[in-house]
């Protein structure tokens, strides 16, 4: 298999790692773009989702949004946003990725607060907690497992989707693959395969790490009772775009 051989050769060339557009630079770019997108999406969806869960409204809206976001191709948004007033460059890419990260984060935040045992909520009210205190000291801690689960799903999804930024020359590890295709499969097949391998490894690694974060984020009091979200609210059965 010459292509596999080519891929190994390509990965073994130190210059391919240290070049200005090499693996290291591309990985850094990939990580900061993804990080910014997830951060932005969290900053928007968590407060809104938690508040909606607290007042118990907006469930159907979250579902509708999740469904609609599935129908919009990531490639389309990545193409359209740079042509608006935002202009080319990282901000448009970050915004496009953040928009796709909002549904899982929002749905999990909403569900996390919503799923708090009504009896626990009633007990809190009976103790004289105000709405704000109830949210802060009862609902939020109990929602942490859901928030962490949403974060993992959104982060892995963004890392995967960020590869598509290569379609609009937006940087990240996807560029290695698209540049390989640009060389043609005979000359660039090894690079294509190597790029695919790197991206897949990054996503699997991130998923593994975030599972650990998810476990660490579980409040101590919840650890023994196996109080984990059984399934994500955001329906993890959608493939990563």
């Amino acid at each position: 298999m010459t292509i596999i051989h080519d891929a190994i050769l390509w990965l073994n060339d130190p210059l391919n790692w240290t070049n200005p557009n090499g693996i290291i630079a591309r990985t850094e770019e990939h990580l900061w773009i993804s990080g910014a997108a997830v951060g932005l999406a969290c900053a928007v969806s968590w407060p809104v989702g938690v508040w909606m869960g607290h007042v118990g409204r907006g469930g159907p809206a979250v579902v509708a949004m999740t469904n609609l976001s599935r129908a919009v191709p990531t490639v389309a948004l990545l193409t359209i946003l740079p042509l608006t007033v935002i202009g080319f460059g990282p901000p448009a890419i970050i915004l496009a990725l953040a928009l796709f990260a909002i549904p899982p984060l929002l749905a999990n935040a909403y569900l996390g607060v919503r799923e708090v045992d009504p009896q626990v909520r009633d007990a809190g009210r009976g103790m004289g907690l105000s709405g704000w205190q109830l949210l802060r000291s009862v609902e939020l801690p109990l929602a942490v497992p859901y928030l962490a689960n949403g974060l993992r799903i959104a982060a892995v999804q963004v890392l995967a989707t960020a590869t598509l930024a290569a379609y609009v020359n937006g940087g990240g590890l996807g560029m290695i693959i698209s540049r390989g295709f640009g060389l043609g499969l005979n000359a660039g097949g090894g690079q294509v395969l190597a790029g695919g391998l790197l991206v897949a490894l990054l996503c699997l690694l991130a998923d593994g790490l975030l599972v650990l974060v998810e476990r660490a984020a579980l409040p101590k009091a919840l650890r023994r009772t196996d109080h984990r979200p059984p399934r994500s609210a955001a329906d993890p059965i959608t493939p990563t775009p």
Binding site: P73, G89, V168, N169, F181, G196, P241
Partner: protein
């Protein structure tokens, strides 16, 4: 076709909108509806074939996983890993071996749709009440009859949900196939971007893509109602 990602884009340089590059143009639609229809047809064909093949593989696999509990972990584990791998990487794995062909796109699409349908079918099968299965056994149903006449019909809501999610996400995913030149409407979206940022084309192809997803979803809802008349009463 592969050398598409070659637009010269400088970071931070905002593109001047200008009056000559509108988001929507009747002229574009009039002059290019042939191209648009051809792309739509390719898009639809890729989606339908991918979902059909995926369903034919996934439903038996889900039944197997349901019957032999030990297989469930393996199947869910393998599909979980697959699901984490980005589509671009998957096409990158496939293309050097399968070449610049529609098959490359199809294999990728089938794999992702497979995951969705297996998981939802399994959920559907698990939701069949144990009492119902028990009473069917008591009435003398054999294994095949039990599956065919009790379990599968009762799992239909799960199967239909899986088909709907798989179809809608496949429509969106086809666009990624542009990488190997078979992305249906995705070819027009990226092509429009690379052809001097032709907004009318990007927008028209995007709207066609979202529209296709919604129409197919609606069609599946209607099919679901037709094959599951008992759910109609509940929603009405």
């Amino acid at each position: 076709m592969p050398s598409k990602v070659s637009a010269f884009v400088s970071a931070g340089a905002a593109y001047d909108p200008g009056p000559g590059n509108p988001w929507f143009s009747w002229d574009y639609l009039r002059q290019n509806y042939g191209t648009l229809l051809a792309a739509l047809r390719e898009h639809l064909l890729l989606t339908l074939v991918a979902v059909a093949v995926a369903a034919l593989l996934a439903i038996p696999l889900a039944v197997l996983a349901h019957r032999f509990g030990r297989l469930t972990g393996t199947i869910l584990g393998v599909t979980g890993v697959l699901y984490t791998i980005p589509s671009l990487a998957l096409f990158a794995f496939l293309a050097p071996f399968t070449g610049i062909q529609p098959v490359t796109v199809l294999i990728g699409l089938v794999l992702y749709a497979l995951i969705t349908i297996i998981r939802n079918t399994l959920t559907g099968l698990r939701q069949v009440p144990a009492e119902v299965v028990e009473s069917a056994r008591g009435m003398g149903y054999g294994r095949a009859a039990l599956l065919w006449r009790i379990e599968l019909p009762l799992a239909l809501p799960g199967i239909m949900t899986g088909l709907r999610i798989a179809t809608v996400s496949t429509v969106a995913l086809v666009t990624v196939g542009e990488l190997v030149g078979y992305g249906g409407l995705g070819d027009l979206i990226i092509g429009g971007f690379n052809a001097n940022f032709y907004r009318a084309q990007v927008m028209a192809a995007t709207l066609a893509c979202v529209g296709l997803a919604l129409v197919l979803d609606l069609a599946l809802i209607l099919v679901g109602r037709a094959v599951m008349p008992w759910t109609r009463r509940r929603t009405a």
